[in-house]
Symmetry: C2
Subunit: 288 residues, 2 copies
Amino acid sequence: MAPLFKQMTIAGVGLIGGSLASIARREGLVERIVGLGRSQTNLDVAVERGMLDAATRDPAEAARGADLVVLAVPILSMRPTLERMRAYLKPDAVITDVGSVKGWVVRELEPLLPTGVALVAAHPVAGKETVGAASADPELFRGRRVIITPSAKSTADAIAKVEALWTAAGACVIRMEPDLHDAILARASHLPQIVASVLAAVLAEERVGGLLAADFGASGLRDTTRLAGSSWEIWRDIFISNRDAIVDALHLFGSAIEEFQELLEIGDLTGLERLFNRGRAMREKLVQ
Amino acid sequence: MAPLFKQMTIAGVGLIGGSLASIARREGLVERIVGLGRSQTNLDVAVERGMLDAATRDPAEAARGADLVVLAVPILSMRPTLERMRAYLKPDAVITDVGSVKGWVVRELEPLLPTGVALVAAHPVAGKETVGAASADPELFRGRRVIITPSAKSTADAIAKVEALWTAAGACVIRMEPDLHDAILARASHLPQIVASVLAAVLAEERVGGLLAADFGASGLRDTTRLAGSSWEIWRDIFISNRDAIVDALHLFGSAIEEFQELLEIGDLTGLERLFNRGRAMREKLVQ
């Protein structure tokens, strides 16, 4: 079988980019894999692990000859990265990304594309807590959802190739409008992150009678605040690039917290039970 | 060593009561253990597993001869249970409990105590997801905190005995005022439960473009909503009996959610970063 791409360039050889390189290699999808990065140490790790054929910190060098460019850098770094690569892209190159927000990415990148260059934005929905090429894992996406958000600059051929890459990774590929993706992820992913961070922030210094309340939490507090350990740098970009949808999701949640509080204050046990059991039903469906 | 109590009666032989019975037996703290329950099937399990010397569904029979009575029933069932036992208690019996709320328990039970009978309210802070005597585990409390909340009807001797029971269970015993306990647990335990339940309830039927948002959550959504699977019956009692402290905790949290939303709307990244990183700092301390 001929490889899908002759050369694949990965901008940002972290957990996601590095895992994708390992998969492309293992599945024989590409002949040559080039990594673009800022940290020479991290690039060296990726080369040593056999994930890359070449590594560079020069966007022009990384762009040259690439049939597929994967932008695996933080969301707000995508535009400047592509700006530095665009003059050196092949006229039929395909650009894709792995960002958690899609409308912003499409709107930022499409105007930069030279004629003939296609964009197929994508989001692998994979839980991740480690960073860097050292933690790359070719099994990272198996059984996970990858959401492809075709837009004006997506050709049928480019979509098919990007989908083939993710299918080879063992992921379940689905297509969605970019803004629909962002509204859904604001609720299913960005909201839980904020809820966990705010709960942890509220308890960070909360003392009663001189005692730190958080010292008396059990496993429930640990689970509910686990996401609060996430990196600000990654989430800053998500908050900026998906602001409106996140504000909507926070409205929904804030109103429900207020409703719970009011039901509790007036002692409406029927209302509380309904709200509580709606949560339990969702949870039971989730763990099925 | 002489046993701490000749007879210990456990009202409610579930996970907590059953585990406590197993510990008392293993450590030789009591000569005879009697279980009081409503479900004959569950009592039979406890007898078969050697946790009880006798099992009954009659409060009078359970009360007779008990040196220690452990109320391990839901919080709102404690008063009616003790009402049915009180006429048959030994004049020097010690009453204790394992409820998650302490001020209410002390206020409800103290007026019922015959002269000479002591009350030492206690709360083992142990994460638990299973129920019934079948899931009892003598290691359940090892390394956990047990909060003892002495009150007007606690004698020094009774406190010492109840603390000795929990120390034998491998728990770390601390003392606290009942209302201080409730304010702290409202923040560290009851608030996370409500946050998880409300988040899950909000997402239960939340659809965008016909798609169920919760279907697109990853491990973060699962962790943050894990507590939403808890039993309404247990939490109803906690919500009723610790209402004021929980309302205070919800105020704190609701205001912080509102603050986050406002910072996001005006694009105050410095403020968002401060809030986010306060959460991360709490989290890092929690996992140490």
